[in-house]
Symmetry: C2
């Protein structure tokens, strides 16, 4: 696995460096340093609240001195082009023989100058949003695997679906459960070092991509935790979310919700329906292919006080009659228990057939 | 508009030449001849049952003599490559200055030899599955147009969604209604000479593509008839279908169904749910963004006897309480009336606000 120097020039710790922030949060041991000359000398812990003493450095050389052997482009520049400053850093890293990892929409490997340089230096460029060749059209192949498949779904995009699945993976493994995380988006892929961006494939292949990544994750796992994407009601991304549902064919769903959010991301005209309605819609849309049961609720209470957060968790638990928590802020055990119990009951029911 | 020589070598009249067959069926006046040397001398009417005296010819020269000024690739070769025979025909056509229209997954314009030849000759290659640049992420922009939007949805793929909308367009225009067809797939695009393949864009842009084509079709139309794709329950294509629903934001739906079909296309493991359930699911999935009412049912009874077809139409009409017909086989008026009535009531309700 690579040890990253995360490029976040001028932006580390802001939402603009989301990919970088997430890697620090979930794979701190994979991060050697963060490159942001405007905040050099500080630490991830100080700027982000996580990542402890991971240093913020001002040059590639300092990052290498801290042990980095790969560059991770941790920002998403507007317009999709490669800004001059980033280009210069990529060139320096290639010259040093460092791998390049990027989740940009503009593929670094398609840049004539950078790709020629990488080829000459023998350096691999990982454009994680580039769809692999040979992704099939979805056809329910997940029915052939034995693993219990759990998918995170949500009332909106960017609401904590990846987060809860990564934390569940950690919590399940701590209980010696063979659980795997199936990365379906760029941040998840960078964290795991493999996966498939289901929103980056040609539309006809969304479900096939979801199938592929679910089956691959199941090889060494009894429980596959599939990273969710978007929302089946999001005006821009609903197609990706439904293809992911019908490709991964989950047995169980974790419903993710942010109680303080009223309207869909980037769509202030559209109110988010009540959580119970969204849960019912997911189950209705899954059922004709393979019934999926919602077994827990993961709330993102980041904008609420401790008191309000605890109150909303209690209220949602009562309304949905489901184990409910904020897995970042409070104990994740209710969700871990829900998965372990569901998996056991499913296998017992199967063995009785 | 181009006058096509339809390439269907060895396959005209079979399902393999679906694109070619459909263009003959709906745009016979745009077809000069069909190229299929194995059936040269015959006519479209004799081989396909439609298209009357459109001649089947054995050479490009004969097609040109019949008035063709463009080649339409009317088949879909397996594997996506350009077979040698087709390549030779494309070269002949480019040499004669004929436009090339293709719905192949492999873009003819990306073939170095053919694209260089076309450039040199000043010939345009229309790869209708190539996504245009600048397609936005969907964001509900269709709410800004005044037209009544009607979308064909279905219990499965390949069930008559394009057909009913093309026939409704003709029937509505015959009543002096300003109706437009919004092409969302390769056959519709070739027939209309414009449009956008919503299943060929990158997954994040399905809804945005649907928005774009709906808004464009609305410019000169009071009623926009959006070509449907797939089914929101199809294991391979559901994401495309939902993105199309949430991008086009229809006011009304025409539900398409083939009563003689039991399982989903290419997915014999999966039974098609009852039509009423599929209608309810579509309305549930549309409602949070913009309520859509199903106003008619279009049945594909091609595999049934006249007696059985009439019986099933009566049964479905009773079950759904909706105007129901097979628009190819019987009178389309029940659906035309349903749209005209819906449009009038919608505008009256709007003016009362």
């Amino acid at each position: 696995m690579p040890r990253y120097l995360i490029y976040a020039e001028g932006q580390f710790g802001t939402p603009a460096s989301k990919t970088g922030n997430s890697v620090v949060r979930y794979s701190a041991d994979r991060v050697a340093a963060v490159l942001d000359s405007t905040q050099a000398g500080s630490t991830a812990g100080r700027l982000l609240g996580v990542g402890g003493v991971i240093p913020v450095v001002g040059t590639v050389a300092e990052g290498v001195a801290r042990g980095a052997d790969a560059l991770l482009v941790g920002i998403a520049p507007p317009g999709g082009n490669i800004p001059p400053d980033l280009r210069a850093v990529i060139q320096q890293c290639i010259a040093r023989g460092m791998e390049i990892w990027s989740g940009l929409h503009a593929f670094i490997g398609d840049d004539p100058e950078l790709s020629a340089m990488a080829r000459q230096r023998g350096v691999t460029i990982h454009d994680v949003r580039r769809p692999p060749s040979g992704v099939p059209v979805g056809s329910g192949r997940v029915r052939d695997i034995d693993s219990t498949v759990v998918l995170a779904v949500g009332t909106d995009a960017n609401i904590g679906k990846m987060t809860v699945m990564l934390q569940l993976r950690t919590a399940l493994r701590a209980r010696d459960v063979r659980a795997a995380f199936a990365p379906t988006g760029q941040t998840g892929i960078v964290i795991e070092g493999w996966g498939l961006c289901v929103d980056a494939v040609v539309a006809d292949f969304i479900a096939g991509a979801a199938e592929t990544v679910t089956i691959q994750a199941s090889r060494d796992a009894d429980i596959v935790l599939v990273e969710g994407q978007g929302s089946i009601l999001h005006p821009g991304y609903s197609g990706v979310s439904l293809g992911l549902l019908h490709g991964s064919l989950p047995h169980a769903l974790i419903a993710c919700h942010q109680p303080s959010r009223d309207t869909f991301r980037h769509n202030p005209w559209l109110r988010i329906p009540p959580l119970r309605d969204v849960i019912a819609l997911h189950e209705s849309m899954a059922a004709p292919l393979r019934p999926a049961r919602t077994i827990g609720v993961s709330l993102n209470t980041v904008e609420l006080s401790d008191r309000d957060a605890r109150a909303v968790i209690a209220r949602v638990a009562a309304e949905t009659n489901l184990p409910t928590t904020d897995p970042v802020r409070y104990d994740i055990t209710p969700l871990t228990e829900a998965i372990v119990t569901f998996d056991r009951e499913r296998r017992q029911a199967g063995s009785r057939l």
